[in-house]
């Protein structure tokens, strides 16, 4: 009895001492066995299709933890629902930071949700890693040194299309069709900036937008065709992209069709519209499309597929978001590996801004590269054209790596 007590006391005091030591040594969210990471995304509500991103990432970290984690530490991703509503994002991020004591915030989805917590996180010097939104505002390292983005900005992508037009179709009459949301606005601004005011006036003959409450986009497509445009730029996601592709084909319009990278999923967008109707569409992208047969024997794809089958069987292997989430998780793992044993928030941020890595699901030749004055991870993209079956890459890598 007495000895038991002694053992217990010793064990307890050791535990407390250990805890005290750990707390002294490590910043919030880090222990000898764990790295706590926070995230919000729409798990409910109209944007809940994006809820697959945290799920695939949790699955990825589960696999990583089974393999021993990072330097013996397991990654614990706490993903909360914000229903894509900024006030909810603020509340949930505060919970993550103040109650759950996460080490940093990772891959929040959406422009408005990211903006809503950017000031808060920067004032507390908490890394806001890899925003899942391509608005160009997120690479502003001078004003917001704690916020960094990896995916290419919408404006960069828009510039690629304009360069292509200047070279291949200088007398194009362009119609712009975009969602009336932050991304759509960034695309339109990016295209106009890249063209310059004079060329924009000459080239752009029609503009139209759609709302997420619009059941169909038929009316807009008809108006754009009537404008006499011979080139159509479309920014849309999922079914709105499908509807546009189908309607353009169904009314017999055959413009040069440029589709933003957001709507390029073969099984998610092109197949619902009809593969033959999507023939000839061009786009620029940086990830491998999992539906694309050309990657069937690619090692990176095979690894991804094996991971999906084993750790996230309920997830769709046709969903590009699952490739996106996987790649972002890998970028995070690389960042944390680079940190070694110094997991202070300063060092995590420093290493996030010190990446130079080609990940398996990035298109060949494309790298994630960041620096202290370069908070945009992927800036290079490749153009591709749909041949009725798969996306064919053409031309060189555009943009700096």
């Amino acid at each position: 009895m007495n000895r038991k007590m002694t053992v217990l006391t010793v064990a307890l005091s050791l535990a407390f001492a250990g805890q005290a030591l750990a707390q002294k040594k490590y910043p919030p969210g880090i222990t000898d066995t764990e790295i706590k990471v926070g995230q919000t995304s729409p798990l409910s509500g109209p944007a809940s299709a994006y809820g697959t991103i945290p799920k695939v990432q949790m699955a990825y970290f589960k696999m990583l933890n089974e393999q021993g984690g990072i330097n013996g530490r397991k990654i614990n991703l706490i993903a909360l629902d914000d229903a894509y509503s900024p006030p909810k994002t603020v509340e949930q991020v505060r919970r993550l930071v103040e109650k759950d004591q996460v080490a940093f915030i990772f891959n929040i989805l959406g422009t408005a949700p990211n903006i809503s917590v950017r000031k808060y996180l920067n004032s507390k010097k908490i890394p806001q890693l890899f925003t899942a939104a391509g608005a160009s505002t997120f690479g502003n390292y001078k004003e917001y040194p704690w916020t960094i983005v990896l995916q290419p900005s919408y404006k960069d992508e828009a510039r690629i299309y304009v360069e292509y037009l200047k070279k291949n179709k200088p007398d194009a009459k362009v119609a712009l069709f975009t969602g009336n949301d932050d991304a759509g606005k960034d695309y339109v601004d990016g295209i106009k900036e890249a063209m310059g005011p004079e060329l924009a006036k000459k080239m752009i003959v029609a503009e139209a937008t759609f709302e997420s409450t619009d059941p169909t986009v038929d009316s807009q497509v008809i108006s754009l065709q009537a404008s006499g445009a011979d080139t159509l730029f479309v920014h849309a996601v999922s079914k709105w992209a499908s509807m546009t592709i189908r309607k353009v084909y169904d009314i017999g319009w055959k413009p040069l069709f440029i589709l933003s990278a957001t709507g390029t999923s073969v099984s998610g967008v092109l197949a619902p519209a009809g593969l033959e109707k999507a023939k000839g569409i061009i786009t620029a992208y940086y990830l491998k499309d999992p539906n694309d047969p050309q990657w069937a024997n690619d090692q990176g794809y095979k690894d991804w597929l094996a991971f999906m089958k084993k750790y996230y069987p309920e997830g769709s292997t046709g969903d590009q978001l699952n490739v996106y989430g996987y790649t972002m998780a890998q970028a995070l793992v690389q960042t944390l590996k680079q940190c070694g044993d110094d997991l202070s928030r300063e060092n995590i941020m420093k290493q996030a801004a010190n990446l130079d890595i080609a990940l398996p699901m990035l298109l060949p030749g494309i790298k994630i590269k960041t620096g202290p004055t370069d908070y945009y991870g992927v800036q290079a993209q490749r153009m591709m054209r749909f041949n009725g079956q798969t996306w064919e890459l053409f031309g060189d890598i555009i943009g700096e790596n």
Binding site: P86, P87, I115, K185
Partner: protein
């Protein structure tokens, strides 16, 4: 049509005399706890408390509208948004101090509510529900429109700085905002209550229960009903302003159409029969989604929906009504023992 007998706040239906001592003074300990909250919980919980108070204000406005005027609104998110944007624009573009934006948004929302409430009078039941819901659906699109973009910031919204505690008080910004919100909420509660206990409230009840008689007595029913709409819009607007101040960010995405419906859901679940209803309803809206999110990542909304349905089945008069009944049972037991 709204069944009016179902939506009558008990305290003003001639039962006032039967209100017991404990019920009459229940607000006192609650207020004391509310005031002391910043010393008891973390800043994050305080922030949640502030949001709850914001919702409670909106729901209080809705309770006035449905309880007294017998009208349904599925569009109060629009007034919530209006108040929030007024505050954000005044702070960022005109350097108005945050507290001074509240009267402005109150007056504007009152006026807009009155103007909208007037034609809405001709609409009944479902038609009014649709007309008000149209308002909620149109709000985000309106905020994004290019004509207003220089002011509203378009889809990107408006970001501004959180006000710190004045006079170098040694308290956190969250505590300050919480007290500020609590103060405004308490004042509006008292004003609203007195208003409804006075001439306006009596006129509204008369119009609601005996429209023909009221008209015969010369009560201007159109005016009073529009006024009820306007006052409830005022509550929503001020709540929106307070919400914007505590979140420090407004964007069209914050005012999605479902929000307006959820306000009505919260008001009903909280209980339209009681002055406490809005507070309970606000807690439901604020905390239940967090709980269901913790329970299941895949079907949190399904659980939320089931809880909503169950709460209607189990608590006819909302949470406030259920607590009241429980209190009655407990007292009877205590009385039997004594």
């Amino acid at each position: 049509m709204v069944d009016v007998a179902d939506t009558m706040p008990v305290a003003d239906a001639g039962h006032t005399k039967r209100v017991s001592f404990s019920e009459k003074w229940a607000w006192l300990p609650v207020l004391v706890i509310a005031v002391c909250l910043p010393f008891l919980v973390s800043d994050y919980r305080l922030f949640q408390g502030t949001l709850t108070l914001n919702y409670a204000l909106v729901l209080f406005g809705l309770t006035i509208l449905t309880g007294y005027s017998g009208q349904i609104s599925l569009g109060h998110g629009a007034f919530y948004a209006l108040g929030a944007y007024i505050t954000a624009i005044l702070i960022t573009r005109f350097d108005v101090p945050y507290w001074a934006t509240l009267p402005v948004s109150a007056v504007v929302c009152l006026a807009v509510g009155f103007v909208f409430g007037r034609p809405a009078l001709r609409l009944e039941g479902h038609y009014l529900a649709l007309a008000t819901f149209a308002l909620a659906v149109a709000t985000p699109q309106f905020l994004k429109h290019k004509v207003l973009q220089p002011y509203t910031g378009g889809v990107g919204g408006i970001l501004f700085t959180k006000p710190e505690a004045p006079f170098d008080l040694p308290i956190s910004a969250d505590a300050w905002i919480y007290w500020f919100t609590l103060f405004v909420t308490a004042i509006l509660f008292v004003i609203g209550r007195n208003l409804l206990k006075g001439r306006i409230g009596r006129a509204l009840l008369a119009i609601r229960d005996h429209p023909t008689a009221a008209r015969a007595m010369g009560v201007d029913s159109a005016f009073f009903k529009s006024m009820a709409f306007a006052v409830s819009a005022l509550f929503a607007g001020v709540a929106g302003s307070l919400g914007a101040i505590s979140v420090q960010f407004v964007a069209p995405d914050s005012f999605y159409p479902l929000l307006s419906i959820m306000f009505l859901v919260g008001a009903v679940i909280g209980g339209l029969h009681s002055w406490w209803g809005p507070l309970f309803g606000a807690m439901f809206l604020q905390f239940i989604p967090n709980i269901t999110d913790d329970m299941s990542k895949s079907a949190s909304w399904a659980i939320y929906g089931v809880l909503m349905i169950l709460s209607v089945f189990l608590m006819r008069d909302g949470i406030a009504g259920a607590i009241n009944r429980l209190w009655g049972v407990l007292r009877r037991i205590a009385g039997a023992r004594a």
